[in-house]
C-alpha cells in the first residue's frame, strides 16, 4: 500500500537525507556552546580553538542539511501545511545566520573571539535549536513526514 504520509523529496535509497545530516550541525553547535562556556571560565585557548573547528564543521554540513530540508519543504505541499515545518524552517534559518556570524567572530584572536559576542551567539543558537529540533521531532513522529509506510 503506497504511503499517504508527507513525502521527502531529497532521499537516499528512499530515506530522507535531511534526517541523516541534521544531527551533525545540531551536535556541533551544542558543543560550541559548551566549549565557549568553558573558555569563558578558563581563558585556555584550546577551548576557543575547538569552538572554531566545531562551528566550521557544523556550518559545512549544515549547508547540505539545509539544501535537503529545503527540497523536502518545497517538494510536498502537505509539509508546507504543517505549523511545525514552518517553525523548523524559519528557526533553523535564523540559527544558521547566527552561526555564520558566530564563526566570523571566532576568527578574532584570543578573548574577544568568544567573550562576549561569541558566547552570546552560541547560547542563542542552542536555544533556537532546542525549539526547532522539537518541531522537527514532531514533524517525523506526530505528522509522519518522510515515513514510508505504516503497518496496517
Amino acid at each position: 500500500m503506497p504511503s499517504t504520509n508527507p513525502r521527502s523529496t531529497a532521499t537516499l535509497r528512499s530515506l530522507p537525507v535531511h534526517a541523516l545530516l541534521v544531527p551533525i550541525p545540531l551536535v556541533c553547535f551544542a558543543l560550541t556552546f559548551l566549549t565557549d562556556l568553558t573558555y569563558s571560565f578558563t581563558a585556555a585557548m584550546l577551548w576557543a580553538d575547538m569552538s572554531a573547528w566545531l562551528l566550521s564543521i557544523g556550518l559545512i554540513v549544515a549547508v547540505f542539511a539545509v539544501l535537503a530540508g529545503l527540497a523536502d519543504f518545497l517538494g510536498d505541499a502537505s509539509i508546507r501545511r504543517l505549523r511545525a515545518a514552518w517553525i523548523h524552517l524559519l528557526g533553523n534559518f535564523a540559527a544558521l545566520v547566527l552561526a555564520i556570524l558566530n564563526a566570523l567572530i571566532h576568527t578574532r584572536d584570543a578573548y574577544t573571539s568568544v567573550v562576549p559576542g561569541g558566547l552570546t551567539l552560541s547560547t542563542l543558537v542552542v536555544v533556537i535549536l532546542a525549539v526547532t529540533a522539537w518541531n522537527g521531532w514532531m514533524m517525523v513522529h506526530r505528522h509522519a513526514v518522510g515515513i514510508l509506510e505504516i503497518r496496517s
Binding site: 576557543a48 573547528w53 524559519l90 566570523l104 576568527t107 584570543a110 574577544t112
Partner: protein
C-alpha cells in the same frame, strides 16, 4: 523565500560592515605622539596582500642625489645583511618554519599570506659577496655557511661569528678573508623556537664592548591566541653573555623586535618593533625605539603605554602600570624589519648620523602602507624631524609588489644595501655621480 532573501541581504550587510573603518593618512601616526583611533574588531580577518609581480628589469626609485643598482639578484629569499670588516657582504637567505594550523582561520590565512611572498623556496644559508673593485658589482660569490635553521641575525665579535638561527645563537670561528665556513658551530644559547614559531626572525647585535649579545625574540602569536604558555621568553630582547651563554630578558613587552642596533653616538640599543594586528587599519602603529634596560613596552596587555587590549585575558594591571610608550611611531602595519644608523662617507652629508628603516609593508590594510626604505634624521641620539622616503617603487599600480625591503646594512664604501626578499635581490644605494 522572501525570508531567505532578506537573510542573505543581512549576511551581505554584515560582511560589508566587517571590512572596518577607512584608513587614515599615515602621516598622522609619525613621531613621538601618534594619533590612536578607537579600536575596531573585525568580523572578517582583514587581509589585503600585494600581488607579487617581480622587477622584470625595473629598479627602485631613490631620493634626489642618490642612485641605485642591483648588487645581487636571483637569490632565494634574502632577508638580512651583514658587512664583515674586510668589506665582504653576507646575505642571509632564509625562511620560517611551516606554520601549524590550530584553527580553520589559519588554513585560509596561511594560504593568502603565501601570495604575498616570493614563490622561490627560501635558502637556509648565508652567501658571501666580495666586491674587490669597489664599484658595487661583486666579483666573487660563495656559499659562506650552509644548512642553517631559519637564520636571521649575524654579528662578528673578534674572530667569533654569531648566527641567530630561529632556535639558537650559534658561534662559528672566522678568519679574516675566509670565504667559506665548514666547521660545525657551537651553540652559545638556545632561543625559543618551535613547535609553534610565529615570529621566527631572531635579530642579533653585540654591545660596543663586545661582551654581550642582544637577540630579538618575537612573540609567538598576534595577541596570545596560541596561549600564554607559548609566550615564555618571547616578545623580548635577550641579553646574552658572550663568555658563558647565560641570558636575561633585557627588555620585554616588545611584540616583534628586529633591526637591533647600537646608536653609535650614545651607545644605546635601538630596535624597530612590529605591533599587533586586527584592531583596525590604523592600530597599532609600528615603532622605532631606544631599548631601556628592564623596561616593559606593553605587549600583550597594552599598547603605546597603557592602552588596554581587550583580547588579552587574564589582564595584568601590575604590568600595564609599568608599560612605557616607545620613542617614535612609524605608522600602522608598515612592518619595519631593518634598521641601520648611517656612519658612512659615501651618501650626502645630510644622512650622516641618522637612521634608515626598511619597511616590509602591510598585509592587513586596505590602502597599503610601508613597502619602502625611509630615513629618519637623528640629533643627540634622538630622532629629530619627520621621516623621508629614500627608496620607493616597490609597489606598482598601488597594490602589486615588485619587491619588499627587509634588512639593511652599510657597505665598506658607505653605500646602503637593502635585502629585498620578495624581489630576491640586494639593492645598493650610493651617491649619484
Amino acid at each position: 523565500m522572501k525570508c531567505v532573501l532578506s537573510g542573505m541581504g543581512l549576511i551581505i550587510l554584515l560582511l560589508l560592515a566587517a571590512c572596518g573603518p577607512r584608513p587614515i593618512d599615515p602621516r598622522l601616526q609619525l613621531g613621538r605622539h601618534p594619533y590612536l583611533p578607537p579600536l575596531h574588531q573585525y568580523l572578517l580577518p582583514p587581509m589585503h596582500v600585494a600581488k607579487v609581480v617581480g622587477w622584470n628589469g625595473a629598479v627602485p626609485t631613490v631620493a634626489p642625489g642618490l642612485k641605485i643598482q642591483a648588487f645581487a639578484s636571483g637569490l632565494a629569499n634574502p632577508r638580512s645583511l651583514y658587512v664583515l670588516p674586510n668589506g665582504d657582504v653576507l646575505v642571509v637567505e632564509t625562511g620560517g618554519p611551516a606554520a601549524p594550523v590550530s584553527r580553520p582561520k589559519e588554513l585560509v590565512m596561511n594560504w593568502v599570506e603565501k601570495m604575498a611572498h616570493s614563490r622561490t623556496k627560501p635558502g637556509q644559508r648565508i652567501l658571501l659577496f666580495r666586491d674587490t673593485k669597489a664599484d658595487g658589482v661583486p666579483d666573487l660569490k660563495t656559499v659562506f655557511l650552509d644548512h642553517l635553521h631559519s637564520p636571521f641575525g649575524v654579528v662578528l665579535v673578534g674572530n667569533d661569528l654569531y648566527v641567530a638561527d630561529t632556535d639558537a645563537v650559534v658561534r662559528f670561528p672566522y678568519t679574516p678573508g675566509q670565504t667559506q665556513i665548514t666547521t660545525a658551530g657551537t651553540t652559545l644559547c638556545e632561543l625559543p623556537g618551535g613547535p609553534i614559531d610565529h615570529h621566527w626572525t631572531k635579530s642579533l647585535t653585540a654591545s660596543p664592548d663586545g661582551t654581550k649579545l642582544y637577540a630579538g625574540v618575537g612573540s609567538n602569536s598576534n595577541i596570545t591566541e596560541n596561549g600564554m604558555q607559548a609566550e615564555i621568553g618571547r616578545a623580548s630582547i635577550w641579553e646574552i653573555d658572550r663568555a658563558t651563554g647565560a641570558h636575561r630578558e633585557y627588555a620585554t613587552g616588545l611584540r616583534n623586535p628586529n633591526g637591533l642596533q647600537f646608536e653609535p653616538q650614545t651607545h644605546i640599543l635601538w630596535a624597530v618593533i612590529n605591533e599587533r594586528d586586527e584592531l583596525g587599519p590604523d592600530l597599532v602603529p609600528d615603532y622605532l625605539t631606544s631599548i631601556k634596560d628592564g623596561a616593559f613596552y606593553g605587549w600583550p596587555y597594552s599598547y603605546y603605554g597603557q592602552h588596554l587590549d581587550p583580547r588579552v585575558k587574564p589582564q595584568r594591571p601590575d604590568l600595564v602600570a609599568k608599560a612605557i610608550a616607545p620613542d617614535y611611531a612609524l605608522s600602522s602595519h608598515v612592518a619595519p624589519l631593518g634598521l641601520v644608523f648611517y656612519g658612512g662617507a659615501n651618501l650626502p652629508v645630510r644622512y650622516r648620523g641618522g637612521a634608515f628603516v626598511g619597511e616590509h609593508g602591510s598585509w592587513d590594510r586596505s590602502i597599503l602602507n610601508g613597502y619602502k626604505v625611509i630615513f629618519l634624521p637623528f640629533e643627540n641620539g634622538q630622532p629629530a624631524g619627520l621621516p623621508e622616503d629614500v627608496v620607493t617603487g616597490f609597489l606598482v599600480d598601488g597594490d602589486k609588489a615588485r619587491g619588499r625591503p627587509v634588512g639593511l646594512a652599510v657597505d665598506a664604501a658607505g653605500a646602503l644595501l637593502i635585502a629585498d626578499d620578495t624581489g630576491n635581490s640586494v639593492w645598493r644605494v650610493s651617491a649619484a655621480d
